[in-house]
């Protein structure tokens, strides 16, 4: 078993810049309400992308399309060259092994210990032995600063700790891409930092990250590219320094100024 902590960094050196997520003309609607109106996006390996925008702009929906939690009606999407096919359980299983996701509400499995939370998916999906997955889980928990919580139950942890366990759980599948859906929005302010530090360390190691976030300073600091979504479209996109300092469209200007109120 490779050491997960090093794998992404290694991969980044080998194939940095190769496209890993490819989205073409993606459209999605709920009934007659179209929430994504033609998204084209290519994410390169090792890139860190921050998606910002008002609520209802479709940013979470876009993220959830990437691992198939949302079904889209038109367009195509592939991860690591593997196309997303909703009808094929096999294809979905393949794809979801390449894409990890972290949620706003943590979604740890409350009936399992922290260690078992991390071990469950690799044991079932990758058919690894318990011995192997347990040692991997310990490494990952150490990495997110929770080595001593292996036998704790999720409800004994703070929100920030739970979210870090969720990160370790996602990493246990050794994903090529990690999706972060407003992962600090449900946290008390004093707990945000510990989670963001873990995410930042992942970014530094070359993990490909797509994150929907309201933490603008974090997006500016860590992001390679910021995407501003508005009414179901990619409205503006660019390096954070440029985008934040010099917004081109009135919508983005308005959005950014509304944050300072």
């Amino acid at each position: 078993m490779s050491i997960v902590a090093e794998a992404p960094a290694h991969a980044a050196h080998v194939a940095a810049g190769a496209p890993i997520v490819q989205i073409t003309a993606l459209r999605k609607s709920y009934g007659s309400n179209e929430v994504l109106k033609g998204i084209d996006l290519t994410v390169r390996r090792g890139e860190v992308i921050a998606i910002i925008g008002k609520s209802g702009s479709g940013k979470s929906t876009l993220l959830r399309c990437i691992n198939g939690l949302e079904v889209f009606q038109q367009g195509s999407l592939s991860v690591d060259g593997k196309p997303l096919l909703h009808e094929s359980a096999m294809a979905m299983r393949e794809l979801r092994q390449r894409v990890g996701m972290i949620f706003q509400g943590f979604n740890l499995f409350p009936h399992l210990t922290v260690g078992k939370n991390v071990m469950l998916a690799p044991t079932l999906v990758k058919k690894r032995s318990t011995l192997e997955t347990a040692s991997q889980a310990r490494k990952l928990l150490t990495r997110v600063g929770l080595a001593e919580k292996f036998d704790a139950m999720p409800d004994q942890l703070s929100g920030g700790q739970q979210q870090r366990v969720a990160i370790a759980r996602a990493l246990a599948m050794e994903p090529a891409v990690l999706l972060c859906d407003e992962i600090t929005s449900a946290l008390d302010p004093e707990l945000v930092g510990e989670v963001l530090r873990v995410v930042e360390s992942l970014a530094d190691e070359g993990m490909t990250l797509l994150m929907v976030t309201h933490e603008m300073s974090f997006a500016r600091k860590v992001g390679d590219r910021v995407i501003f979504m508005h009414q179901g479209r990619v409205h503006e996109m660019g390096p954070p320094a440029e985008l934040f300092a010099n917004p081109q469209t009135p919508e983005l200007q308005q959005f950014l100024s509304s944050l300072h109120d």
């Binding site: 939690l69 979801r96 949620f103 979604n107 009936h111 998916a121 999906v125 969720a166 759980r169």
Partner: protein
């Protein structure tokens, strides 16, 4: 005239009690199996089947068990198949139980937050793995108390099988009371036996309920 002692009454009732217990167990196990099957179909299949099972549930919940027993007994006979009271009672009670249990369990599964499905799905777990390792362990915990509680309903429901001539506790009671002319004594004994059967079950259900609440804090 009266050569029945209290012991004779009790002894005969106890013999019949076996059949009440047997019928309850069969209804509960059979209903549980059918109910679980329906639950899986409902979770897995499309809208049409889901609605069909919903109608099935409504049908059994919306008609008296007595009618269901009549229909099972006389209805199947109309098809030219000879059914014993035993078969008819088993079939009717099993279907009746399955309708309630599948609905109770569906509610329990539905009460598991959507995030649990999404988190386990995004970890590449398949439907079976999600059910077995994530959803059911949590749903089962919630389901135990209402399921055990419903068992009480089944036990009491078996009394209705007496109307199609199945000799269980209630039927035995009325037969003995016809012979002894002591209906009050006989049916008091019958009632006590039902109580002795049901009360521990309710106590256990309540105990389970309390345990879950302690767990949740």
């Amino acid at each position: 005239m009266n050569d029945f002692s209290l012991w004779d009454i009790l002894r005969n009732l106890l013999m019949a009690l076996r059949w009440t217990v047997a019928l309850s167990v069969i209804a509960f196990v059979g209903g549980g199996v059918v109910g679980a099957l329906l639950l899986f179909l409902r979770l897995r299949a499309g809208k049409a089947l889901d609605r069909a099972i919903g109608t099935y549930v409504q049908l059994f919940q919306g008609t008296p068990l007595l009618m269901q027993l009549f229909l099972a007994y006389f209805g199947i006979a109309l098809l030219g198949v000879e059914v014993s009271a035993w078969t008819a009672a088993t079939v009717a009670l099993t279907l009746y139980t399955s309708a309630y249990l599948t609905e109770i369990w569906r509610g329990c599964v539905a009460s598991i937050p959507k995030g649990q499905w999404e988190a386990s799905g995004s970890l590449a777990l398949g439907f079976g793995e999600q059910m077995r390792h994530v959803i059911l362990p949590q749903a089962l915990k919630i389901a135990t108390a209402p399921t055990v509680g419903f068992l009480v309903q089944v036990v009491k429901g078996t009394a209705l099988a007496s109307v199609i001539g199945f000799v269980e506790l209630t039927k035995a009671g009325s037969m003995i009371s016809n012979a002894t002319f002591q209906p009050f004594v006989v049916f008091s004994c019958v009632a006590l036996m039902y109580f002795a059967l049901c009360f521990p079950i309710s106590l256990y259900a309540r105990h389970l309920e309390r345990k879950i609440h302690v767990h949740r804090r």
